[in-house]
Amino acid sequence: MDDGTDTIEVEIEEAAPGLSTGTASAALAAAALLAACGGGGGAEPGGSASPAAPATTPATPAAPPPTRRDAARFLSQATFGAIGPAQVDALVTQGFDGWLTAQFAKPAALHIDYLNSQRGRDQKAGEKPYLAEETSYEAVWQQWLTGEDQLRARVSWALLQTFVISNIAPDIRPVAMSSYMDMLNRNAFGSWRTLLQDVALHPAMGYYLNMLESEKENAAKGTHPNENFAREVLQLFSIGLIQLNADGTPKLDSAGKTQPTYDEAVVKGFAKAFSGWSYGALDNTKASQFHDHDDNNEALWVVPMKAWASYHSPGDKLLLDGKTLPAGQTPEKDMADALDAIFQHPNVPPFFAKQLIQRLVTSNPSAAYVGRVAAVFVNDGSGVRGNLKAVVRAVLMDAEARGDSPAANVAKQREPVIRFANMLRGLGAKSTSGLNRIQYLDSSDDALGQSPLLAPSVFNFYSPGYRPAGPIAAQGWVAPEFQISGETAVASSLNFFADLFNGGGYGWPEQHRLNLDLASLAALDATALIDRLDLLFFNLGMSATTRSRLTKLVAAIDSKTESVKAALIVTALSPDHVIQR
């Protein structure tokens, strides 16, 4: 319903402590708090622009306690790795529902706070303190390794792999990257519509996909609005290239062919709708500030973008499925309408559901599983669309994800960074300082071939549809994580793990080195050791052949510490560890 004020609601990012108060208040003043237009087109329940109200959980009968095996499986789906038997036992007692409820309430430490604590750490006397980009990566690992909000960490990592930003080429500033991570953390259990808006207006994304300072068309200069974000927000972040059924299967026409969701004219239409936005910390009553500013001003990078009407495309804009925005709307109204149009597209629920399932549970969910989760996206049970908390719960509690003996299609390769986190957490890795120095792991020559915030492109590390030749393709399955499992990367990552175990830790200088607690494992007898490895690294699903192999190995090595290291090396390459079932 149009109440005459064309505005959109924008979440204000709290100015990070450490920024000068001058810039902080300017940032808050400049970022406009605007009331939502209720969204056109009738009384759609749970209006498109307002954040979802928390879903009232309908009363459910008390579930039987999970088995230890299913609890271990759950921890590998919902956290960055089990830390010990007590944790598994506690989960059995608490139950999955209780655990989820507690996790939804856990606060997230701000990555920006970590950055500010590290400001100037490498500077010599007299040098101006600066923020190294490595601090943004360390902040991610701090959350993954030490954060109690493990489920939030897993979900925001999944979101980062869909709504990708990457520092692999364009030099995104660390405050921008960490502010973006904080935004994903804030939205992980909120509304998908709010998430989409916060992504679209975050200056890190604006910089990465060039929506920042994209201008309306100019016939004299021969320029047109930038199409990069307009294209990728459709292709990669929300609806994909082909029309989908509610269960994620492709919608075929009468000739059995897939149908495209949009064409170039639509991309151009969205590009126009997204034109005219620049840094939210600037003064949008001054046309000159649209382009002219000092990129080194950190305040520019942590506040949502805002619009300059004079740079916004005035004409009509073709959106999805023939919907056209009329000429002359404000940039804020065009933005709200464009994001609403995406949000309401029928592809979004199955597209998002399938990718979230792929990141947490399995590469090849059944169409029915996708359909069930997509249905929760459409309506969380209280009439709200896009309730991420409900969707996350649906992904993890679906019958296909649960149980002691998953069906054959329930399998995924645990990506390299998750296996590294799993090893560090399971082996009690701690530094004297409590911090870490995990920075660049993306080399596939001598590291893991994967590193957070360093994806090779906006297409993430791997594509949702990647299909390696051989037995996986023969099943008609996909296995995205195998896209970075070439012979080089496999050898490199296994050498990396061997170095980790043999060296007893990772990182430098000394006070920040994460030291593994191998002594606790060395104190166990052989059977207890292998049982412990089974719980930490195999989801209590170690195969008989792996068990007998480890038993034989441990028996053949006299030194307890050396036998532990050898057992860990073999664990790291065992298929029943690498593949999560």
Partner: protein, 444 residues
């Protein structure tokens, strides 16, 4: 960006790859009739408009269309082509200029995926079938590498070529397609061939595993060997074992082959320099592998220049390409292989002649180059294909300076396949739509 580059250099320098070597029994004598194709894939969609630039009356249209991105004519590197005038290269291509002008390479104009010869009127009316998803990175990378533009790419024209050029059962067939840059579709075959991914740093295999350890002496190696020897019923687990098995194979075969070959030519210590340097070493070691037909995939990224750093970005990337390609050509010449190895560039697509105010957006037809092998001698020092008319909204422009290709990838690909030894049957399998096009313009 520079800091990360230093880190990568440091890591590479610290490695000692030749920990375990065995003398490799020669499986076949070195092939006399050796042919190799080397792809340099520019990921992101290179703006070819700034690679090959007119210097004659057409320059005015070029400058008018992109005043913020036009290279100044005084800095361009003139080409003295045998069949065209008024063309020059981006200032960074000093080496390539020399190669083209001495007949060791050629330039290809306005090439891109097409299903059949297509006019602008047909494109506007959508009255003929067009390639799918023309402006999508992943689909167009697939289109260039697969040669199949109307269906999702499952395998590549390089792979299909090798499936037919290298007999099944030929020893070391698994090394016919080598990638220095990760997985790629170009080298994936339609039967069983997959590209062998090799590290450009020369580090192979598992440091902690000795496949020749004597029984009882090394329990860890024994356990690793036992893991590798398993068969797992779950496809994901078996695939993981397969990948590990292939990694170990490198340690046994390629390390030994490389130990017996050497390349004296220095290569730049850049990403592409290391890839082409390793490719040169592997080509020098071809005798140990006994293969007479190979493909090599290399790549360099960063070409998706939507932003205002396009000029700087292209200057850096083109300089990296120029130095690496020039060194590669020198190395091939030194090996007596100048006529045996064809290196060619490729990219997702070209970009708009006009600008989005900062950089450029996705286009279609683009300009490329080829060096050595098929692009030497009678087909060197040429313009292959036809430059587009640079008039905006003109006969080659399908929107804001996006070029409708005047040459299809099939046309270049067909000539490269023929040079590689493909007969008519093979050509039909490698380039199924190739028969619908004329021969590449300018090709002798």
């Amino acid at each position: 960006m520079k800091r990360r580059h230093l880190l990568q250099l440091g890591a590479a320098a610290a490695l000692n790859p030749w920990a375990q070597m065995r003398a490799l029994a020669q499986t076949a004598p070195a092939a006399r009739d050796y042919r190799a194709l080397v792809c340099v894939f520019m990921f992101g969609g290179n703006d070819g408009n700034n690679l090959l630039v007119p210097t004659d009356a057409r320059y005015a249209a070029y400058q008018r269309a992109r005043p913020n991105l036009a290279l100044s004519s005084g800095t361009l590197l003139p080409l003295t082509l045998s069949n065209a005038t008024g063309l020059a290269l981006h200032p960074a291509f000093t080496g390539l200029q020399g190669l083209v002008n001495t007949g060791q390479g050629s330039v290809i104009a306005n090439i891109g995926p097409l299903l059949q010869p297509t006019t602008k009127a047909q494109y506007d009316a959508r009255s003929v079938p067009l390639p799918n998803n023309l402006f999508s990175h992943s689909d167009q990378q697939g289109a260039w590498q697969s040669g199949v533009v109307d269906a999702p790419a499952r395998n590549g024209w390089g792979g299909r070529l090798l499936e037919r050029a290298v007999a099944e059962g030929q020893a070391n067939r698994g090394y016919a397609a080598i990638s220095l840059s990760g997985g790629n579709i170009w080298e994936a075959g339609d039967k069983s061939l997959t590209p062998y991914r090799v590290s450009a740093s020369g580090r192979f295999g598992f440091d902690f595993y000795d496949p020749n350890a004597k029984a009882g002496s090394d329990p860890l190696s024994a356990a690793v060997a036992a893991t590798l020897a398993e068969t797992r019923s779950h496809p994901f687990e078996q695939t993981w074992l397969n990948m590990m098995g292939r990694s170990i194979e490198v340690q046994r075969v390629l390390a030994s082959a490389l130990a017996s070959s050497s390349v004296a030519t220095p290569f730049p210590d850049t990403g592409l320099g290391r890839q082409l340097g390793m490719a040169a070493k592997l080509i020098a070691a071809r005798g140990a592998l006994g293969l007479s037909r190979q493909c090599f995939f290399t790549s360099i990224g960063g070409f998706d220049t939507h932003g205002d750093d396009q000029l700087q970005r292209q200057a850096e990337l083109f300089a990296e390409i120029d130095a690496a390609v020039t060194a590669f050509n020198t190395a091939m010449t030194a090996q007596g292989l100048a006529d045996s190895v064809t290196l060619f560039s490729a990219s997702d697509f070209g970009r708009n002649l006009t600008s989005n105010g900062a950089g450029t957006d996705h286009g279609w037809g683009s300009h490329h180059f080829a060096v050595g092998g098929a692009a030497r001698g009678v087909n060197g020092r040429k313009l292959l294909g036809r430059m587009p008319d640079l008039t905006l909204n003109g006969p080659d422009d399908v929107g804001q300076g996006v070029w409708l290709p005047t040459t299809a990838t099939d046309q270049l690909g067909t000539e490269l396949a023929r040079w590689f030894g493909a007969d008519a049957t093979t050509l039909a399998a490698v380039w199924p739509h190739g028969g619908g096009f004329d021969r590449l313009a300018g090709w002798a």
